[in-house]
């Protein structure tokens, strides 16, 4: 089991979610974050004040997946989030010690296996 953390451009989010959906990856958490990844800062002007925006808006995705889903998830993000310019973001793959599904108490592999029908 791995926790995949991806930092991507906000404007690529829809494409990435679409790619994840097609890769059958369900279960994702996103948060709006700001960061700096070496890209050129753009300059904004407000009345007489010019400011360089050192922090860029990014979206952080967190996806807990079972082992055989790690590579498909990474491939989906790599292809959908890439524009080829500096600032496309990073993917981090982290080991997970334990996973619980709160609703059922299921653990680990079972806890990240999608449930398709709740009937």
């Amino acid at each position: 089991m791995k926790l995949i953390v991806a930092i991507i451009r906000p404007e690529q989010l829809s494409d990435v979610l679409e790619a994840l959906f097609h890769a059958d990856v369900r279960g994702v958490t996103i948060s709006r974050v700001q960061g700096h990844g070496g890209e050129i800062e753009h300059v904004e002007n407000y009345r007489g004040t010019s400011v360089k925006m050192a922090l860029a808006e990014k979206v952080r995705l967190e996806i807990g997946v079972s082992n055989h889903f790690v590579q498909p998830t990474i491939d989906a993000i790599l292809s959908a989030a890439r524009t080829g310019e500096v600032g496309d973001g990073k993917i981090l793959v982290l080991p997970i010690e334990k996973i619980y599904r709160i609703r059922t108490g299921e653990q680990d592999q079972d806890a990240v296996t999608p449930v398709h029908s709740d009937s």
């Binding site: 451009r9 404007e11 690529q12 829809s14 679409e18 700001q34 700096h36 800062e41 753009h42 300059v43 904004e44 002007n45 407000y46 009345r47 004040t49 010019s50 400011v51 360089k52 925006m53 050192a54 922090l55 524009t83 310019e85």
Partner: protein
């Protein structure tokens, strides 16, 4: 001239001017947050250069004595536009009142090309359009041109403003092309309260638009005013019922849209019809626009904010129904089908088709000529990042985190900590 008429027309002119910022809020609320400043600027910018070019040239082409097709340069540079009477009011006040119409009409077009048209191309387009399309069409109907001679009725601009702008919007949406995400991703309104604020202020300003088109403070203004209350109210009621019967929920965006549609529908008729007819027109006018909105979203036409469905169909429906409901007992002159003059409906339909043909053709030519000189739209990544940052160098909603003050002399600011000031407060002033 008397001061009561002048006082009302001063107020009416200010009311119509308010409609352009109101339109900015209406449109701005309906786009994504990364494009809201650009969208609002597309309306706001008309308040500047369009007003200037109207005073210097457009007004003369529309209202100076000329032939059936166009005015002349007799009033160019406001020559001969002074305090003398023009109807019940001073000539220069008439010019200013008409100027507020010339400002909002091109701004209406922007709804069809938001979120992808380059700002400088848009600016060049509306300046050419107001001189080349709006001024002649205004002349045809209100400046003594051939549509007036033909007997076409357009009280406050159903054909001149709404059909005209919506036809241009249709052509512009096709020539500029759809947004890259259109039909692929849902693009939701980012601030529905803005859209509702805009619709409310549009209604308020529209009392000046319609009742001011009486050009005096008399009973005709009172009639147009009342009809401007009743028609959109009925459209809103019918629209809400459609929403409830179709989806089970009365939507806020739907309510805001309904108000605008009802206002558009009654515009050509406001001073010609009875208040009960205004209620009928508001109800009938809801139908084509309501279903066109639903249908358009399924097509390839990225008329992003539905200028064609709201203003085009609403304006055409209103213009034709004016020929049905015009009533000599209320209008003091023109009568329509119900009042025993069936030919008026054909005259109205013809006026709509003529405006449609000219506006469509001329808009196409203007855009194609502009496209030879500059790209009309932004592309690829820039569209993804949004037009606020890329076209205006500003953001609407920034927390200001990580904003580094660029001081005048220091080009390579990022290097020295002492030179760096991180703004703690909001980014805007």
């Amino acid at each position: 001239m008397n001061n009561a008429d002048i006082a009302w027309m001063l107020v009416a002119t200010a009311l119509v001017l308010l409609m352009t910022p109101a339109l900015a809020f209406f449109y701005g609320g309906l786009v994504r947050s990364k494009n809201v400043l650009n969208t609002m600027m597309m309306s706001f910018v008309a308040l500047g250069p369009v007003a200037v070019i109207w005073a210097l040239l457009g007004y003369s082409l529309a209202f100076a004595p000329g032939n059936g097709a166009i005015g002349s340069l007799a009033f160019a540079g406001l020559r001969g536009v002074g305090m003398e009477a023009h109807g019940a009011i001073p000539h220069l006040l008439f010019m200013a009142f008409q100027g507020t119409f010339a400002i909002i009409t091109p701004a209406l077009i922007s709804g069809a090309v938001v979120e992808r048209m380059r700002f400088n191309a848009y600016l060049a387009f509306i300046l050419l359009w107001v001189v080349g399309v709006y001024a002649p069409v205004a002349h045809w109907v209100w400046g003594g041109g051939f549509l007036a001679t033909m007997g076409a009725l357009d009280f406050a601009g159903g054909a001149v403003v709404h059909v005209n702008a919506a036809t241009a919007a249709l052509v512009a949406a096709v020539v500029v092309g759809p947004r890259k995400d259109y039909g692929r991703h849902a693009m939701l309104p980012h601030n529905v309260p803005f859209a509702m604020l805009g619709a409310g202020l549009l209604w308020f300003g529209w009392f000046g638009f319609n009742a001011g088109s009486a050009l005096s403070a008399g009973p005709t203004a009172a009639l147009a005013f009342t009809n401007t209350l009743l028609a959109p109210a009925t459209t809103l009621a019918v629209w809400t019922m459609f929403d409830l019967f179709r989806g089970g929920a009365a939507t806020a965006v739907g309510a805001a849209t309904a108000i605008v549609v009802g206002l558009v529908v009654v515009t050509p008729a406001a001073g010609y019809i009875s208040p009960l007819s205004a209620i009928a027109m508001g109800a009938l006018g809801a139908i084509p626009s309501y279903f066109a909105l639903i249908y358009r979203a399924k097509t390839k036409l990225d008329d992003s904010l539905d200028v064609v469905a709201a203003h085009g169909l609403g304006g055409a429906t209103g213009a034709i129904l004016t020929g049905v409901f015009a009533d000599a007992a209320w209008s003091g002159g023109p009568s329509g089908l119900i009042d025993g003059n069936p030919g008026q409906v054909l005259t109205q339909a013809a006026s709509v088709l003529i405006v449609l043909a000219y506006s469509g053709g001329a808009t196409f030519v203007i855009l194609k000529v502009l496209a030879l000189m500059m790209p009309l739209r932004i592309t690829g990544r820039v569209e993804g990042v949004g037009l606020d940052v890329t076209q205006h160098g500003e953001e609407a909603y920034t927390a200001g985190d990580g904003a580094i003050l660029v001081k005048p002399k220091e080009a390579s600011i990022a290097h020295g900590v002492a030179d760096v000031v991180v703004s703690e407060s909001g980014g805007g002033l």
